[in-house]
């Protein structure tokens, strides 16, 4: 256990941090947009069953198999190999990102669905009475209330996605986990290397948790006010 080895390893691992963060942030944005669309189509009966089937499929199977299907499965289909999608689906980065987005959307859409349901009916009526259009009601009433409601559960989903990005190392991507496994194959010092990698993820997860706790406190201060 020597210091130079550890410093060397941590520097190496940190060079994978941009990719991990990139996948997490773009995954969250893509997943969030798709989740909103999934909630929007739930207004029609057909759309509702499509959204339900989507959620069933992506929440009922492991993320690892979803990554496998997109990276290995789709590239084995001749039709896709000839289509305009091929230059994208050939790259492990886009396959990994696509899997993360699709997976995150399923979980986030359920969180949002619960949150939208929790918006008090009276606030909708009030918005209608003052003459807001449907879009205005969504933008100024339902969405802000639902967002605040969804924060604690969403915080867990962000951490879950961050942890999920580690699985893209199985399709040759060199994120923090990918670099760690490569380093272990070279040095055979599994404990030191994987512990260092674990610490990096732990720091990120704690940061996310604290950030959400802070935002939650700011958005609903009355719930946290000390009893005097």
């Amino acid at each position: 256990m020597d210091g130079t080895f550890l410093i060397d390893i941590v520097t190496k691992l940190l060079s994978g941090l941009p990719l991990t963060l990139n996948l997490t942030i773009i995954g969250l944005i893509g997943g969030g947009c798709l989740a909103l669309i999934l909630n929007a189509i739930r207004t029609s009966p057909f759309g509702n069953s499509v959204a339900s089937a989507y959620v069933f499929l992506f929440r009922g199977t492991p993320l690892l198999i979803q990554i496998f299907v997109i990276y290995y499965g789709l590239s084995a289909v001749p039709f896709i190999r000839q289509s305009f999608l091929w230059p994208v689906l050939r790259e492990p980065y886009w396959c990994g990102l696509l899997a993360l987005i699709l997976n995150d959307a399923a979980y986030t859409s359920e969180i949002l669905r619960g949150a939208f349901r929790a918006v008090p009916h009276g606030s909708h009526e009030a918005a209608k009475v003052v003459g807001m259009t449907r879009w205005e009601t969504f933008r100024r009433i339902s969405f802000p209330i639902a967002l605040r409601q969804a924060l604690p559960a969403y915080s867990s989903e962000v951490v879950a996605l961050l942890k999920g990005t580690a699985l893209v190392s199985t399709i040759t991507l060199m994120d923090v986990t990918g670099i760690a496994s490569a380093a272990v194959r070279q040095t055979w010092r599994a404990i030191e290397v994987f512990l260092c990698a674990a610490l990096i993820y732990l720091a990120l997860s704690l940061l996310v948790t604290w950030l959400f706790a802070y935002v939650e406190k700011r958005l609903s201060p009355w719930q946290f006010r000390e009893a005097r």
Binding site: G60, P62, L64, G73, L167, A198, S205
Partner: protein
């Protein structure tokens, strides 16, 4: 098309039996991990609600660590790290290598400890939802702690905990797929082997997905039935 279907069948050219075994292995890993998670999770939850300040902080740190580190890293750490540790100890004792760690044991333990962190949160929440008055009433009539737990706390807390624990079980089933990185032949690993051999990636990934969907859907039914059974006779709250 028929040719492809015979690949997933139970005939001589089919991978059916192999996948049935792999599915059972997934269940076995998940059951073992969930059991470990339940035992450790109960202890951690207990430490968080009734321990001294340092014990509470240690339990809370434990939960943060296992909820903040990717599953794949924990599994790598237990499997490859475990091998490194065993090799070190073995060499010091003057034994001959190569040393190996059981993929099943390392994987199930890793997934189990990850699950224990989340299970402890569910159990803690369920305990805190037990009305304080009922505990006080139990104390007043002179129940010893164990009786109090058995007759007052557990019956109420377990009912509250069922949906949350159901979610944890589903999570454990899905986490067990990551154990495939150790080479243990469960469903995910079998998908990789079969599709690598036959070059039928999409077909076998589909088979794997169906196995997981069967397990999670069936579990979901059992969880719902259990919840309805234990809530029998309770006031039904219509949402």
């Amino acid at each position: 098309m028929i040719e492809k279907l015979s690949l997933v069948g139970f005939g001589s050219a089919g991978w059916g039996w192999v996948f049935a075994q792999a599915g059972l292995m997934t269940l076995l890993v998940a059951f073992t991990a969930f059991g470990i998670g339940l035992i450790v999770g109960t202890l951690v939850a207990w430490a968080r609600v009734s321990g001294s300040k340092p014990v509470q902080m240690a339990a809370s740190a434990y939960v943060s660590v296992f909820r903040g580190v990717p599953d794949i890293l924990v599994i790598y750490l237990f499997f490859f790290g475990g091998r490194q540790a065993v090799t070190f100890v073995g060499t010091v004792l003057g034994m001959q290598g190569p040393f190996e760690v059981s993929a099943f044991a390392a994987g199930a333990l890793a997934v189990g400890l990850i699950s224990s962190a989340s299970q402890s949160e569910v159990l803690r929440g369920a305990y805190q939802a037990v009305p304080k008055g009922t505990i006080e009433a139990g104390v007043v009539v002179g129940m010893p702690p164990l009786t109090l737990f058995r007759r007052v706390i557990a019956p109420q807390a377990l009912v509250t905990a069922i949906p949350g624990m159901g979610n944890q079980w589903q999570g454990t089933v899905k986490d067990s797929a990551v154990v495939s990185v150790t080479g243990l032949v469960e469903t995910m690993r079998q998908v990789a082997i079969a599709s690598g051999t036959t070059r039928e990636y999409l077909l076998f990934a589909g088979v794997g997905a169906v196995i997981y969907l069967l397990i999670t859907t069936f579990s979901d039914h059992i969880i719902r039935i259990t919840e309805r059974m234990v809530r029998y006779g309770e006031e039904v709250k219509v949402a």
